[in-house]
Structure formats: C-alpha cells, structure tokens
Symmetry: C2
Subunit: 351 residues, 2 copies
C-alpha cells in the first residue's frame, strides 16, 4: 500500500496565529514560540531560505537583463533514495526555460518560435544536450536555476543553465543545449534566415555554462550490446506541452538500460544526449547500453580502458568512475532508426 | 525531438536591475519599466500572486495550529493539454502531507510513525482515498493546499486536503484519505494501542473536506471487463520515499485502462481508490476497467443506468458524465490478488 506521510500537531492546546507572528527563518532556529506556546525544534533543511518570488516576478531577471533565475523547492516526490532524480532536474531546466520565454518574449510563441520563424514555417529542435552534476539536492532543499541563450555556429542557438544552492549561490550543476531550425514542411534542418537572425541575435551573450569548442561526438552501438531493453512506448504523460516526447522520458528510457548494480552504487555525474530523429507516438523504442570506457581518476591521472563487452557476470570493475554509451532506437524489419545517442558517466557513491 | 522552450530577451539594450527596482505584481500590470527601459506586457496567469513563503515557514500553519498550508506554482511539465495532470495533484497532496509531518512532528519519523508506534512495530497504511476536482489549474497558476488530520472510527486516522486558488481562496478540489495501523511483523491491521491514541488524538479535528458517513464500497470486476491492460511493472521511479509504490503510480495504471475517446473528451471529476494489498517490486500488474453506471446529471436529476458491457464499438454514450469501475490486480495461475479497487467519474469537457 502506498505510504502517504502523516503525523500530528505537537502543541498541547490550540494556538492562535496572529498577523504579527510571522517568524524569519533566515537563520536556523532551534525552537520557537507562537503566542507563548512553545514549538519544538524544526529540522530545517540546510538549503532552505525564507521567501521565494513568483516565477514571473521581474526580480528573477539577472545578467543585466539577459538571464532569468527561478527558485525551486525540491519536493518529496522528486527524489529517490533521498536525492533528487536526474529526471526531475531535466524537468526543472524545462520549467526555467519556459518561464524565460514567458517573461522575455515579445513576438514568439510558447515554444520560442519568433514571428518571422512562424512566417517561414520554422521551429526550434534541440540537437544536443549535456548536464554535469557534482552534488545532489534533497527534498526540502532550495535551488536556483539561471538560464540564458547564445549563438551556436552560424545557424544555431545555445541555451545554458547553471544550478546553484539558494543559500550560498555555489554552482553545483551546469547544462548546455544546442538548437537548430527545422522547416516544418520538409522536416529538414534549415539555414537561419537573416530576418530571423535580426530578431534574435541581440539577445545572445557569450557566457557559457560548460566550455566546449568541439563537443565530443558520441559513438554508435547496436543491439549486440550488453544491456538491451525493448518495448518502450511513449504514453500521454511522456509528452511535453508541444506534444513531443519530453527530455525527461528519453532520460527515463536511457536509465532503464543501466544495471541495478550501477544505480545502487554509483551516482550520475554527467549525461549527454545527441538527438538524431523524432520519436513518434506509435514508435516502439529499444534502449541499449554498453559499459564503455572506464576512467580511473586519481591524483589528476586518468586512464581510459575499453572494456571487453563479453565480461562475464554482472559485477562492475571496482573503479571510481563508469561510463556507459547509450542508444535509443526504433527497430524496423530491415533497418533501425536512431532516436537518441547518449553517454552517461557515473561516480562511485561515498558510503 | 524534444522541444525545450526558448525565446529571446526583448530589450533593445542591456538593462541594469538595481535593488530598488522590485515591482509588486499583486495586480496585473500591462507593461513595466526598469531603469527607464520599457518592458512589454507580460501575460501573467490569472492565478499568480507575488511571494511564496518556504514550505517550513510557520506562516504556513493554519486552523489554530491544527492545519498546514503549502503554496504550489504549477510547473510547465506538470500539465497535459494545458491542464494539470491528476497525477501531479496526487504528488502535491503527498508533498503537503510530508511538510505537515516535518513542521509538526515531535516524536514521529518521516512516515508519521510515532515513538510508541515504532516501539509496537506499527506503521500507517492508507486504506482509501477520494479526490473530487471541479476545476483544473494551468501551468503558471498558483494554488494553496490545506491539510489536517482527524479520527476515523475507533482505530483509524483520516487525512483531508482542500485545494484553493491562491488569489481568491476559492476551494476547487477536495480530498480525503483513511489510514489504518498495520503490524510490521504480521502485516495485519492492528487495533490502535491506548498509548498511541494518547500520543495522537489531541491533534485530531472534526473538520471534513468531503462529508461522508458511510463511504461507498466499490464493486469488484474481473478480467472479463472491457478494458484490460497487462504487464505493468513498478520501476524505481514509481516508488515513493518509503520504497512503496506511490499513489501517483496507481493512478497512472488506472488511467492506462481508460479509452482515448474518454481521455480526449472528458475530464476527471472524481476518483476513489480502495487499497486492498501491497504491490511488491516484482509484481506484474493488470489494470482493468469497465464503463459502469452513467449518471446524467441535469437540473439536479440523476439517472443511473448499468451499461451493457457488450456494447459494440468504442463510442461512449453521449452523456454528460461517465463512470468507470477499476481493478488493479496481480494475476496468478490459480487466483488473482487485488491491489486496488477504484472508481473514476468523468465530466464532459466544455468545447
């Protein structure tokens, strides 16, 4: 049975809250009193502050008007074994981007297509996404997500994010994504028209969350790989507001092909997704993964070994980092269609 | 490809936000200026207010110290076809309960077991849950959830919730749940020991979100029913913080067995779950549903018709309300084990 959480009010008799009984929690209190009734100590999260402004408040505008910041309270159901799930982090990134659009747009629709993009039948599609995460928030923690955009090559756009602890401002995760324009009729990548460039280029800034001049190209694996999960199908709840399969769902599917041994003892420190083609409603998807290079990072020394795929048993090599190569594909009779290539890097959990 | 949302900063030149440039959005502004630079109109949600206090702020204590209120910004990814999903509402209820526990508990653990419950090897399990919803929030809306507890019979506990618009305080959804104590060793329902009653009974109040003296007992259906979905298995992400299958997941599974015709044209107005036994990690679950009674509610007149289950085709009768009976079960070779019995009522969407 599901175990909804419940408990009881601890005060011995009813208390009345009056308007002046608001208490500032900006430093950790051991206990507090309301109208002379003592309340016992509250276990405040180390990462909790007092007030949050609403998502569309102009106080969320940062970087001299080029960036947007949103505060998130990590909720109980967004965690697994006490830490926030990687899927929830992808959701947070999407939410911050959506509010950036709502706060800043003038002539763009909710999915970020500008007036002249719409006139030219163009829309944005994401081609690559990378997230690096050093620490994991717990339920009750508050984090701030900053997001902004820049140019990517001649015809593309880059959206970056930084995730920080709300109390200290220390950045503990970074993400970057690249976007191309696609013609809705031909479904092909399109050169950015000058009139569209004129609309958007003044909003670009140079700042990068993850510095990379030449992003690593991911290698392709096939279903001879060690871990193969078949029969994955997008459901209603897997679609985003634009009726496309959400990033969270792609991450869900990739993690399906990670063995429990890894999920239990390692923590994701980096994930890369390379989007190859669109997943349709009716597609049946295969998630494939292969334990690839293993990086032993110790005293700044990194060794890369390509693992033998025929390793017997399910034990992972006892190293501090594991790396998996991923493929999401639709298996056809004669050929397979790639949906997403991916790579995940896992750091040994501290016991 | 996933369509993350993005757009561009609309200001013609960089702006500087100074400390005194905070703007109060408590009424809808058409446009605003920061340091003499005009910002165009922002489409504020009709349901958005300015500030939220953190979940553990004592300003969230209501009902003379017996209740807890939490404010939620509905996030973009919590919606489907513009409205919040019913699963997200179940998540919100869980989150509010969790914070009630964190704010009020003294001698209880995170799942609400008191000191003497732990001593007696007892824990809480939910036996029934009902949610009624009149209106659906959209992403960007803010809602408040109030929660409190009361007694349920001699040995049980009731947890109730009310969901209201943050701006007007109007209640648009109500939920109630009943809880029993279970002995962890025997896994059987247990009489509440007097010493436990002494710990918790002073926190109970009479207030009820949904008045019901004798909750309706749900009838049982079997896999001869019209809609049968097999092969559902709980995954990591389907478990809650206590490693039990979450309510959200049970609702997910129930909705799997609702035909698209209904999901597209009707909106859930009521859902009841009766928990029969625990779903284990390794269980393979069947979700079964049957279009049952149909209530035509017009001018206060309600007619109940038991539908012929052999109705041909997939068209639903053209009425304003549909009701489905549900069963989640683990199908064994000789007998099936019931997990959850359910009932959903659907109101025709206004076009």
């Amino acid at each position: 049975m599901a175990s909804f959480l419940l408990s009881y009010v601890s005060c011995p008799k009813p208390i009345s809250l009056t308007k002046d009984s608001g208490i500032d929690f900006s430093h950790r209190l051991c206990s507090f009193k309301i109208n002379r009734v003592s309340f016992p100590a509250i276990k405040l999260s180390r990462r909790s502050t007092t007030m949050s402004v609403a998502p569309l408040d102009v106080r969320n505008i940062i970087l001299d008007g080029y960036g947007y910041r949103q505060r998130f309270n990590v909720r109980s159901y967004e965690a697994e074994t006490k830490n926030i799930t990687i899927q929830s982090i992808f959701n947070f990134l999407e939410e911050a981007s959506w509010n950036y659009v709502r706060l800043f747009w003038v002539y763009a629709n909710e999915s970020g297509a500008t007036r002249r993009m719409i006139k030219n039948d163009l829309r944005w599609v994401v081609s690559r996404m990378e997230l690096q995460i050093d620490e994991y928030p717990n339920p009750g923690d508050q984090v701030d997500i900053d997001t902004w955009v820049g140019s990517s090559g001649k015809n593309g756009m880059r959206r970056d994010w930084e995730i920080k602890w709300a109390d200290t401002g220390k950045v503990f995760a970074r993400a970057t994504s690249t976007w191309a324009m696609v013609n809705q009729k031909t479904r092909r990548v399109w050169k950015m028209p000058d009139e569209v460039r004129a609309e958007i280029s003044h909003s670009f800034i140079e700042k990068q969350a993850i510095i990379q001049d030449h992003p690593k190209k991911l290698c392709k694996i096939d279903d001879n790989a060690r871990y193969v999960i078949s029969g994955l199908q997008p459901k209603r709840k897997d679609m985003d507001m634009n009726n496309c399969v959400s990033n969270k769902t792609y991450v869900d599917w990739m993690l399906e092909a990670i063995p429990d041994e890894c999920l239990n003892n390692y923590q994701l420190s980096k994930i890369i997704l390379e989007y190859r083609s669109e997943c349709k409603n009716s597609d049946v998807v295969q998630s494939i993964s292969e334990l690839g290079e293993v990086g032993i990072i110790e005293n700044g020394y990194q060794e890369n070994i390509h693992m033998n795929v025929n390793t017997q048993g399910d034990e992972l090599p006892n190293v501090r980092n594991n790396r998996y190569t991923h493929l999401l594909q639709v298996k056809g009779e004669s050929k397979c269609e790639e949906i997403v290539r991916g790579e995940t890097t896992w750091k040994k959990r501290l016991v």
